[in-house]
């Protein structure tokens, strides 16, 4: 594989920083790939617009910032407007059906409108699990990491008492796209 760029946009608390961290950990620890992840920090992660850029490559990553994004997932209108730049014309773009309404120019994107937040709340009962739902959506659409490696890593990462819930979150994510 060659350099692949992913961006998640959300508001703080929607779980994308965790999703990004999980994704690069799987890529590096399970698949010996190279990865750089740059999340926003400080006050913005507590309710403000949040972004995490992830670059995964089979070779060492030279430039550490996203310049041509292949995959963009966004769950809120304001971060969508703020971070809708450097996205490739033919990128895969996923937006939350209910929370990102005004899309503007969607170029030649492979666009998916998905009720991520509502379905997470409805089916899993806790918005915290958006992180794993996001991870599962990314894995299914990009195959950037292997499905089994994702399962194995989430099993190892999740606290025992939340193990089943996290596995269900993976199922929910996959069912949405």
């Amino acid at each position: 594989m060659s350099r692949y760029e992913i961006r998640y946009g959300a508001v703080g608390g929607q779980g994308i920083v965790t999703a990004g961290a999980l994704l690069v950990d799987i890529a590096v620890e399970k698949e010996s790939k190279y990865a750089v992840e740059s999340p926003t920090y400080t006050a913005t992660v507590r309710g403000g617009p949040t972004k995490v850029d992830i670059i995964i490559d089979s070779e060492r990553i030279i430039f550490p910032q996203a310049t041509a994004i292949d995959f963009f997932l966004c769950t809120f209108q304001k971060p969508y407007e703020l971070y809708k730049n450097r996205i490739k014309d033919d990128a895969i773009v996923i937006v939350d059906t209910n929370l990102v309404k005004d899309l503007g120019d969607t170029k030649n994107w492979k666009l998916f409108k998905v009720p991520i937040i509502n379905e997470t709340k409805k089916q899993l009962g806790n918005i915290v699990l958006t992180s794993v739902v996001t991870l599962a959506i990314t894995q299914k659409l990009t195959n950037i990491v292997d499905f089994q490696n994702m399962i194995d890593y989430v099993k190892h990462w999740a606290p025992k008492e939340f193990y089943d819930l996290n596995m269900k979150a993976i199922e929910v994510g996959r069912s949405l796209v």
């Binding site: 961290a21 620890e29 190279y34 990553i61 030279i62 910032q65």
Partner: protein
Amino acid sequence: MSKKREVLQGNIIAAKAAVAAGCNFYAGYPITPSSEVAQYMSAELPKLGYDFIQMEDEIASLGACIGASLSGKKALTATSGPGFSLMQEHLGMAVIAEIPVVIINVMRGGPSTGLPTKPAQADMLQARWGTHGDHPIIALYPAFSDEIYSETIRAFNLSEKFWTPVILMMDEVIAKAHEDIEIPDQKEIAVFNGADHPLDEDLNIYDRQIGEIPPRVDFFKGYPIHIDSLEHDRHGWPTTDPALVDKMQTLRMQKIYSRLDEIIKFKEYRMEDAEIMIFSFGVSARAAIAAVDLARQQGIKAGLFQALTIWPFPERELKERFKRIKKVLTVEMNMGQMKLEVERVATDDVNTRALLRANGVPFTPAEVLQSLKEFVK
């Protein structure tokens, strides 16, 4: 068996390397984008039986590090531009009194509180000349995760070896990015520890031959030694005697400048047949490496000189390259700092240019490529 690769944030990599290098004291005042260094040390040092102190400000932070260092500790503090400004007074004290200490400065946009906390590379000359008076200084600047680790180790070793403050420069991009790294085994890391030095009755702690380094003498070993921020004689007592001042100035400068081979470090990328050279460091050097590859695809023979040691400036190394290469492009996130050094070193037949920006947005490889293309036109 291959070692484990993992994803760690740049600041955490630096903190881990500090511990591996023998750091056993931290005093600091947290400031973004450097705070995770303090965060990590606050958790790890007490576990090892060492001290972490959160100070009231950055002036006190470096003061505490100096005190700890004088009593034999390997001390670290970490900050960003506003805090680094406050540290300048104590930085001078560490230089004149010849006290080892490592200061990490994760640069953000300035001046003053400036651009919290967008990346910059604009404290380059402050690192060199921020504290007043003539003085030598060592400053290092990694760009990749493995370099953050190795240069942090090197910062401690150089500090301990040369009895001088060493500044580890980083930019927000590399310090805040979480990147894959293979942390070396402790046994693979060469840690330099200055030998404890018994003193005779003369209590000479500073006099030595030019080019030599003062012996390690710690507080609390029973010697009535005096350490002063004033210019001093061989016992550390204040003096204004011109001949003695000359001597002490020379001793301090020459301990660094007569041993540059042990301090200067750099990396080159595709320089063998390069006709145009980029001079850069930190995140800008990473954009430059990618730009060199893009330029080569378009027939432009570009190469990169990436400085890992910023101060002392790799003057001799650049001069050597300017015998062959007549075009140099400096790429840096400031309004023209290290380009002044490049211009100073370049001979008259070398064409110099710079790609500069200080608005918090790092250069992309495409922008560096564009600048190369304009240069070769």
